[in-house]
Symmetry: C2
Subunit: 224 residues, 2 copies
């Protein structure tokens, strides 16, 4: 009984979320801002990727970031230190994901009218954030070579709903049983359309390709 | 409105969960079985730690495992291959945590009356499983040196509700900015009573201490 009521309420919450997300998407479409929702386990390197991107691409492009965390604003502080000029923190206070209402509230505090890209760094969690549309153009899922190469099979929803996969920490390859070919094969079994980047935020491998993709994808949105 | 109803339902679900968990705890107390709930991000090494433990301690002790995953029974297969004789898999089919009802159902299929230890490997998620009591004696939280050393601050509920912290993958120390002293300090700030193990399931560092602790803690339960 409680279970059925719970499901009905969940459905209502999700449909309300989708409504707000649709508004955000419409607004960002008008402003021609590319919105990327970064999702992963805790510690896969979402913040590191954004640090590098802000430092390297912040000169050429106008980049805004909304950064979600269960507690602390550590990540927001790191991103400001890396050169982020428009960084808004959301502390979910225990909640396991960002939702569209949180993003809407954060956007109201930001001046992003002329931004090229809005990054939304989600809470570190490979399950729950997959269910919440935030109005983004696409989800970018990260996994690191220090995790298992079967993660796409074990957390399929997140990989199915993402458009881009970043396999981070390639500098650690060979130090564990992680097989990158196997990881990519598993990911493509779940989602054949994934654009995959092999990356090391530490050594810089794969970052030029990521920057080029970002520029091109933002350009397509500007011309849409 | 929907939010308030959602909170009431969540509270009901949690209180029903706590009731089932209390029954499980009572049963395991009578059987003098030590129950450990292993929690962590995906890829921190819960399954690796259990593989090692089953292979090394499975001769001396009777070990049972309930292993939860969002999809696949990959982990259960790994544990059986490592020598696990009583391994029961729970596939949550999308749910982001195990709950007590799932554990109760799994226990009904297992013969564990004479077991010394029951391990429950939770879904890889550093947020949601912290709210669900499974009837365990204690939670064992893992983090790996490939994650950030600020994880205890960013996911405090899990570290506060755990009795043991395993810092895994010490073989990768020095290859990232992870500072193990800092990680331990962060963890103790959240929970001063944490028993901490530094470990590498790859090199074996810290495993003897873990085995000794397991034997001693199981012994205490037997004599309780």
């Amino acid at each position: 009984m409680a279970k059925i009521t719970k499901l009905i309420i969940q459905k209502k919450v999700l449909s309300k979320n989708d409504e707000i997300a649709a508004n955000i998407r419409e607004r960002l479409a008008k402003q021609k801002i590319l919105a990327l929702n970064l999702v992963s386990s805790p510690g896969s390197g979402k913040t590191s990727l954004l640090e590098k991107t802000l430092a390297e691409m912040g000169r050429d492009m106008r980049l805004a970031v909304i950064v979600g965390d269960v507690q602390t604003e550590n990540d927001a502080a790191r991103l400001r230190k890396a050169g982020g000029k428009r960084v808004e923190a959301i502390t979910t206070d225990g909640a396991c994901h960002l939702d569209a209402a949180m993003v809407e509230k954060a956007l109201a505090k930001m001046n992003i009218a002329d931004a090229d890209v809005l990054f939304i760094e989600n809470v570190g969690n490979l399950v729950c954030p997959s269910s919440y549309d935030l109005g983004e153009d696409m989800k970018v899922v990260l996994m690191s070579t220090a995790e298992g190469d079967d993660k796409p099979l074990k957390y399929p929803a997140m990989f199915r709903r993402s458009s881009v996969l970043v396999i981070n920490k390639t500098d650690l390859l060979g130090q564990s049983d992680f097989d990158i070919e196997h990881a990519e094969k598993n990911a493509r079994n779940i989602n054949p359309d994934l654009r995959i980047f092999r990356m090391s935020c530490r050594t810089g491998e794969g970052l030029p390709e990521w920057y080029a993709w970002l520029k091109e994808t933002s350009g397509s949105k500007k011309n849409s």
